[in-house]
């Protein structure tokens, strides 16, 4: 950053010198000379972008150094939403720590729960019933729709297109109602459990998901009609926020940002969990690594998610009905505890003490809509994690902001923040 700054100053000085003292024959009056000397001290414009800025997507505090409208440096200050999630999880049983993950990235809740569940399941060698695996995948893909709708439409709002936002949020509302029918909560579902889910799927839910998906493609088309071929939208996005393949790898990018540079890395495909290996889906990748491609990738991923949901719904019809795992280690049936004292005691102990993980280190990552979301659990064999570390994509992507934005104009910063798709719940944790 410093280098760029120094170079720019140098260029300005040189420019002034050539302009004013280019010809040695010109006699410069003393007064004029001193004023020129003052002029040479360029003061850059420092702008405090946030934390209450409307385009900051939460509580991003960004110190921008501007030269006119051009960005010289962008310095993001994080931590305004720090809630100590990792530490809090160390003081709770594994299951009691689960709801914290909903509250990290509060637009893709289930994807994060799923990462913790994967870590526990792989550590305890639990296998979820096939039928529920399909439902988990459906819920994960609905979450992807939820997130990408938010990402793309608020991105459009940052660029100045007002209407896609409202189209998108109507669909988000429908998906949130699905969340409510799955778990009882609109946002913070806490629905997944090791080896299953917290409650069974309601009757008629599959029909409604099908109906929703049938009309959802049209809604995506409507949003694309407003944006994809719009010349102003293209002018604002094409060749803005470009990164190279090497940069993306070096900074640890994942998700749509990594795919936009041409790397077809998708954990659903490379390290499939549950029934993902049985499903057919394509991974859109870009080649230029600019904001427009990331937008296109997100739109395409939504279409792919809908296709995955359709596949799951179709395969579900071929599965035998199988209920939740009845395992004291993970979850107890609530039905029995109302009828028998012993069952009540078992249930109480199961929830009070929780279950333990074998001592050792587990890392499990899932393809959250924003990128790779990982949970690292270091267990000492007790019922609580000795150390819990969360790898969040937003944190990794936010640190790339200077790489993206230096050299662009101030209006591009909001475009870039939009394309990074950051949520401060997960950045600050």
């Amino acid at each position: 950053m410093l280098k760029i700054l120094v170079e720019k100053k140098y260029i300005y000085k040189a420019g002034l010198n050539i302009k004013c003292f280019g010809s040695s024959a010109v006699v410069v009056p003393t007064l004029f000379k001193t004023r020129l000397a003052d002029l040479r001290e360029f003061r850059l414009f420092t702008l405090n972008f946030g934390p209450q800025h409307p385009a900051a997507h939460g509580v991003l505090r960004l110190i921008l150094t501007l030269d006119g409208e051009n960005i010289i440096s962008a310095d993001s200050h994080i931590g305004l939403l720090h809630r100590g999630t990792e530490k809090l999880m160390e003081y709770r049983t594994y299951l009691a720590g689960l709801p914290y993950l909903d509250r990290l990235d509060y637009v893709s809740m289930l994807s994060q729960e799923y990462a913790l569940i994967c870590a526990i399941e792989s550590s305890n060698q639990l296998v979820c019933p096939k039928r529920l695996q399909y439902w988990r995948v459906i819920s994960l893909e609905l979450t992807r729709l939820l997130n990408h709708l938010m990402a793309v439409t608020t991105h459009a709002l940052d660029v100045g297109a007002l209407t896609p936002f409202l189209y998108g949020f109507e669909e988000r509302e429908k998906i949130m109602e699905f969340y409510e029918r799955l778990s009882g909560a609109r946002m913070h579902a806490a629905w997944m459990r090791p080896g299953g889910v917290s409650q069974d799927i309601m009757l008629g839910f599959a029909d409604d998901v099908y109906t929703f998906c049938m009309q959802f493609i049209n809604r995506i088309d409507e949003i694309e009609e407003l944006l994809s071929s719009n010349r102003i939208w293209k002018q604002r996005l094409v060749d803005v926020g470009v990164i190279t393949y090497e940069q993306a790898l070096n900074w640890g990018a994942s998700g749509p940002i990594l795919r936009s540079v041409g790397c077809s890395w998708d954990l659903r495909y490379t390290q499939p969990t549950d029934v993902y290996s049985e499903l057919v889906f394509s991974i859109p990748t870009g080649s230029r690594g600019d904001c427009f491609e990331r937008y296109l990738i997100r739109m395409y991923e939504m279409r792919e998610s809908v296709s995955i949901i359709f596949q799951c719904l179709e395969l579900l019809g071929k599965e035998d009905v199988q209920y939740l795992v009845d395992d004291t280690k993970t979850i107890n049936s609530k039905q029995k505890m109302y009828g028998s004292m012993e069952e009540l005691i078992t249930h109480f102990k199961a929830y009070q003490e929780g279950f333990s993980l074998p001592a050792g280190l587990t890392y499990s990552a899932t393809e959250a809509p924003k990128g790779e979301f990982g949970v690292l659990l270091y267990s000492d064999g007790s019922n609580k994690p000795y150390r819990c570390k969360l790898k969040t994509p937003g944190f990794t992507h936010l640190q790339m902001l200077p790489v993206f934005s230096v050299g662009h104009m101030i209006a591009d910063v909001s475009t870039i923040i939009g394309t990074l798709d950051i949520v401060f719940g997960e950045v600050d944790r």
């Binding site: 702008l47 385009a55 459009a156 709002l157 940052d158 189209y167 604002r236 591009d412 909001s414």
Partner: protein, 332 residues
């Protein structure tokens, strides 16, 4: 003497009634904007205050008037309070040359078009003063953008208007309307009309050229530090200018109050007002329509569009009209 006093009273009455009608128009234009955008975005819009939200603008206005007018520390108080007043005054004074029908005009001057151009150029100062006196970085950036943008688009707007003045041979708006009795200018001069409309969007700082108050970049731009009445004045001025631009467009290109000899263009029929009103509402609707559809331009793209596209086009049209007029004078 008595006639003079009577004349003054008539003029004051005319001007006041004009201002009040403009204010009511602005109030319901804000409601129309919210309702139209709501319909375009599949939502309902304001519907609680009065039937169909009919009293929403009044409630909003009342709220702004009742709110405290905060003057932040380290603000140039005099300029800070003067800027909104200045902007609103200019916005209203532009209406004095607008004819609503044949002879229904406060000041029927021959240079009406030039007068309007001068007013719109002057109104840049209001924005600059507001941004500069606010002692706020966002406001400062917003006012810089406003100055650059309005000056750039004033140039092409002026050239477009000059082309029409040369064609008509007069800068009087009533005469411009009379010339269009048989053929609206939008038909032969549609490129000019299109450019005028787009320049009008830029001139009134509307989407997709609302860079001066781009929410995603500059929070609220030049009026970020204003609250209460100060903000209300800027807001009213902006919407007044928008209505003025719509009316101006209908006068220049849509034949004003004429409608295919449906009513004689110089009669005093009340239908003429409705014809002009409908045309104005249509253009104002287009302003809202554009806002609901398009993303915002970036600052440099706006400048490129203004100087590299609009200016050459407007300049060439101006030269074309000048040549036609000169050659026509020589031949006939």
């Amino acid at each position: 003497m008595l006639t003079f006093i009577f004349w003054v009273i008539t003029q004051v009455f005319l001007f006041l009634s004009s201002i009040i009608s403009v204010l009511i128009g602005v109030a319901y234009f804000t409601l129309a904007e919210r309702k139209v955008m709501a319909m375009m975005q599949r939502r309902i819009g304001p519907n609680c205050v009065g039937y169909w939200g009919a009293f929403q603008p009044l409630a909003d206005g009342l709220k702004l008037v009742v709110k405290q007018f905060i003057i932040p520390n380290k603000v140039q108080t005099a300029l800070f309070t003067f800027a909104p007043v200045y902007t609103l005054t200019l916005a209203f004074s532009a209406w004095s040359v607008i004819p609503y029908a044949s002879g229904v005009v406060i000041a029927n001057i021959d240079l009406g078009v030039i007068y309007l151009l001068a007013i719109s150029t002057l109104s840049v100062y209001g924005l600059i003063l507001a941004g500069w006196s606010s002692n706020s970085k966002y406001a400062f950036l917003g006012s810089l953008r406003a100055a650059a943008q309005m000056i750039s688009y004033d140039v092409s707007l002026g050239l477009i208007l000059l082309s029409i003045i040369i064609f008509v041979g007069s800068g009087n708006l009533t005469e411009i309307v009379f010339v269009q009795e048989s053929l609206w200018f939008v038909v032969p001069f549609w490129p000019l009309a299109l450019m005028f409309f787009i320049s009008g969007l830029a001139e009134t700082n509307r989407a997709p050229f609302d860079l001066t108050e781009a929410e995603a970049e500059l929070v609220a731009g030049y009026n970020v530090e204003y609250s209460g009445v100060g903000f209300a004045m800027f807001f009213i001025a902006e919407y007044t200018n928008m209505l003025l631009m719509s009316l101006y467009f209908s006068l220049l290109f849509l034949g004003g109050w004429g409608f295919f000899s449906y009513v004689a263009i110089d009669s005093d029929s009340i239908v003429l007002f409705f014809i002009l009103g409908l045309k104005t509402v249509f253009v104002a609707f287009c302003f809202v329509w554009v806002r609901a559809t398009l993303p915002r331009y970036r600052y440099d793209q706006l400048m490129v569009l203004g100087w590299k596209v609009f200016l050459p086009l407007a300049l060439s049209s101006f030269m074309f009209f000048t040549m036609v007029s000169v050659v026509g004078n020589l031949l006939f």
